[in-house]
Amino acid sequence: MPDLLEVKGLTASYGATQVLFDIDFRLAQGEITAILGANGAGKTTTLRAICQAVKTGGSVLFDGQQLVGKSTESVVRLGVAQVPDGRGTFTALSVEDNLKLGAYVRKDRAGIAQDIEKAYTRFPRLKERRNQQAGTLSGGEQQMLAISRALMLRPRLLLLDEPSFGLAPLIVAEIFRIMRRINEEEKVSMLLVEQNANIALDVAHHAYLLETGRIAVSGPSAQIKNDETIRRVYLGY
């Protein structure tokens, strides 16, 4: 499989503080890649750097196109959707308006209506609450909405920032099951950032371990999962 995303020498900084140092990784078309690491390792910043929502250097090639230097809006328009940290819900708008906004850059009305229905079949809870203010949803429902909103773009690459954060284990399991199904059935490639290494390694094909802004270890998920030393040193379980 050719690489959909190829990151080389990526650096990122907030003002004078550099957070990422020379990060290299790749994501093959159709795969799920996980970036694991502790709090403050630079996971969220990595996603923000791909979307150009933070000052970046180095190279980020998406399907051969250089993303560094583009605006966030232009990156999104190339087909990169993000489920941001904290879910990014438009809290005062209805669930359905949130979904419509996900398809803002698309012009095919019929396709958009179809995809909204698809989101409702995927997460029936959202259908029940379609006219409700999104801010009144529970944490799990908001995460479902965030994922559905991102999928409304019909993205080629989906960036997920800690989808398990703050959710009950049962809901986390449900969300990850649906993510895997989306990956398998709709061939959406995913870059997943997680603190919960266990569940992320179950769903991902490849994984990278991030430690204070640098890649420490990388390899196929199964290999990392079974390596006792890596588990103890970096993942702490």
């Binding site: 979307c51 929502a53 605006s71 966030t72 809006e73 999104v76 328009r77 959707a81 993000q82 941001p84 990014g88 819900t89 438009f90 809290t91 005062a92 708008l93 308006d97 419509k100 906004l101 996900g102 803002y104 850059v105 203010q133 801010g135 009144t136 949803l137 529970s138 944490g139 909103r149 773009l153």
Partner: protein, 290 residues
Amino acid sequence: MEAFLHQIFAGIATGGIYASVALALVMIYQSTHHINFAQGEMAMFSTFIAWWLIQVGMPYWVAFFLTIGISFVGGLVIQRTILKPVEKAPVLTNVIVFIGLLVIFNSVAGWVFDHTIKPFPTPFPKGSFIESKYFSAHEIGTIVVMLCVLAVLFSFLRFTPVGLAMRAAAQNPESARLVGIRVSWMLGIGWGLAAAIGAVAGMMIAPIVFLEPNMFSGILLYGFAAALLGGIDNPWGAVIGGFIVGVLENILGAYVIGTELKLSVALVLIVVTLTLKPNGLFGKAVVTRV
């Protein structure tokens, strides 16, 4: 009694104008959290453009719509060229820019069109069919035009994709960028709409207060009072606030404090609102669950 009713109706007509000035302020406040102090002078300048277009022989309604178009583009261009560079600057920087714009528009209007007071025509002359017992034709016309403006604006924000994107960008700019909305342009469109609404308000009030560079200094104050009273983050509140301020001003001016002190009604309202109910009557609380 009849005179009293007439005062109320006249108040509703000017209230419609305050409502739209308040609405223009809210449009910009919602998306940037800044109060555009130059809003009134921009509206005054638009009105001068309309006057000039009519002067060179254009029919009223052609000049009316052309002015709205010019004002929209003007507002957009001002945001793109003057405010975009200070988008991320502190509030005070923006306030200085607004005051700068205010002074510039005021002086340029005086320089180009001079300071003499000019009459401005009304498209609803005395004796036209819409005149009634309590309303002058211009009052009814003003109310109708203002209601049309509100209807167009609200349907634009509620039913069009760009309107939805504008609301999203105002609420959560970062998320809006992540769905591909060009947030900075949404601010530009917001400025264009605010300028266009201001232009309509200017053309409607000019036949009453006459046209001159300082015509909006008082009206803007009423607009502030209306926006604050209704809730500066709530467009509907601003509209209702506008009508309340209009009626209150007229009644108090006619029966209680006299016309000389009318403007202090606005100031008192601003102070009272800010001390007793800082969110205004209809400032809505966003429900969130974490």
